[in-house]
Amino acid sequence: MLSSEKRSLFRFLSIYLSSTFILFLLATFIFYDYQKHQIIDIQNAELSIEAEHITQSLRQLNETFTKTLTYPQKEPFKSAIYDLDKGYIFGSFNPKNILWSEEYYQEEKRLFHIHPLFPYYLGASYIVISKEINPEPIDHLLKMSILFLFIAGIFFTLLGLFLGRLFIAPMKESIEQMNRFIEDTTHEFNTPISTILTNIELIDTMYDCEGKEELKRIEIASKTLSRLYEDLTYLKLNHNYHREIESLNISKLLEDRVEYFNTLIKSKELKVTQQIEGNIILEMDKNDAIRLIDNILSNSIKYNKKEGAIEIGLNSKTLRVKNSSIGIKKEDINLIQNRFKRANSSEGGFGIGLDIIGQVVERYGFKFSIDSTYNESTEVNIRWIK
């Protein structure tokens, strides 16, 4: 699976699963809360029934004239009787801060019920009855709710994966088709470009003919095509390409690549200033380094003015390429690494150069920055030491 496919699938799953999870969490919470209230209501009903029993006992006691009157007390209930002024008469407990306005209420782990009485047996106008909440059914409900969420989570993750793969299938097919097309096309490009370049070199060394300028233009165009071929091959093979990480002399490589672009530089009559420190070694794959340098140099030439300037700097920390370019607008700088993005639509190129730079920089953990003043200059910096 390509990284873009993975990214799309991941994004789809993130949105789908998070929204589903929030929805289910909300639904489960409402269900749990409703069921918990039902359980509490059942336990409240037990209080109400016991209060009725106490009322009957009080009615009997009211007609009993023995020396002592035994208060009706039954575990696990606690109760007390209060007169019309809510003054305490008697009971098996004496709770503080009774919420007289409530018929039922909960305080910490106890349920309370205030049961009004009339007539006032033994003067009792209210029975306050209480019992500890039985946590078992609530715990069971909580466990079942969590289990439901867990099972629903697994089910919807699997469903999301299935749907995600279903949705990205056409995209995957299109990408594969495009890749096959690029692969076939680039393969067909390779031989003729190589032939052209070899023969130009041969003509240049063997014959002193007229039309040297025309020949240079052909060479530049061929080299441009050659680089394009290299870039496309690099992008195509990037996922499966086996890298050989070696101690690479970047100073030497940079000088070679500047030399490679010499024809192009001369054709635009650019003034190149080089400040290249010798023997800068980097641990990286040579092809990655070539693609990185070539694309930076290529862009600095391509988006330069005629008779403009290029400053190339290399030290142990950074590679810096500055040109007297058309510049990039501030709002475009953030978008610059997007594939197919071009600073100026009148110029050629596929915008894949900056994308390749971005990929190499990301792979090796380099820091990439562009600083540009519109219509003045653009400076690209690659920093490998933090």
Binding site: N62, E63, F65, T66, K67, T68, L69, T70, Y71, Q73, D83, L84, D85, G87, I89, F90, S92, P119, Y120, Y121, L122, G123, A124, S125
Partner: protein, 118 residues
């Protein structure tokens, strides 16, 4: 009617035993002596007051009103009660004495003192 009489007899008998638990002399002289003599169930009357008024404050207010001008119509007891027991005569007590006697009466029959946990 017979039932009320029998019930009253038993209640009076019970009260006679409970009242051996030291009633104060003013309560004994102003109230209980006549109630015992005429076998009038004092605790039953107290319970009826409790049943209707709940708080000692309200009971005292009603009792005070009744005892200053006792009539069958304003009594807490049902009309049938007066078929068996005579209508109460006015007490010869001033308001302070009456108020004190009512307090003692309410304290003496206070259910809080009788209630116990099993």
């Amino acid at each position: 009617m017979d039932k009320i009489v029998i019930k009253s007899f038993f209640i009076t008998a019970i009260l006679s035993t409970t009242m051996t638990a030291e009633p104060s002399s003013s309560l004994q002289n102003n109230c209980l002596s006549c109630h015992i003599e005429q076998k009038i169930p004092s605790e039953l009357i107290h319970r009826r007051y409790l049943l209707k008024y709940s708080t000692n404050r309200d009971i005292k207010e009603r009792l005070f009103k009744y005892l200053t001008n006792p009539k069958k119509e304003t009594s807490i007891m049902p009309k049938q009660f007066f078929l068996k027991f005579p209508e109460k005569a006015s007490l010869e007590l001033n308001d302070t004495e009456l108020s004190e006697s009512i307090d003692i009466y309410l304290d003496y029959f206070d259910v809080k003192k009788k209630l116990v946990l099993p």
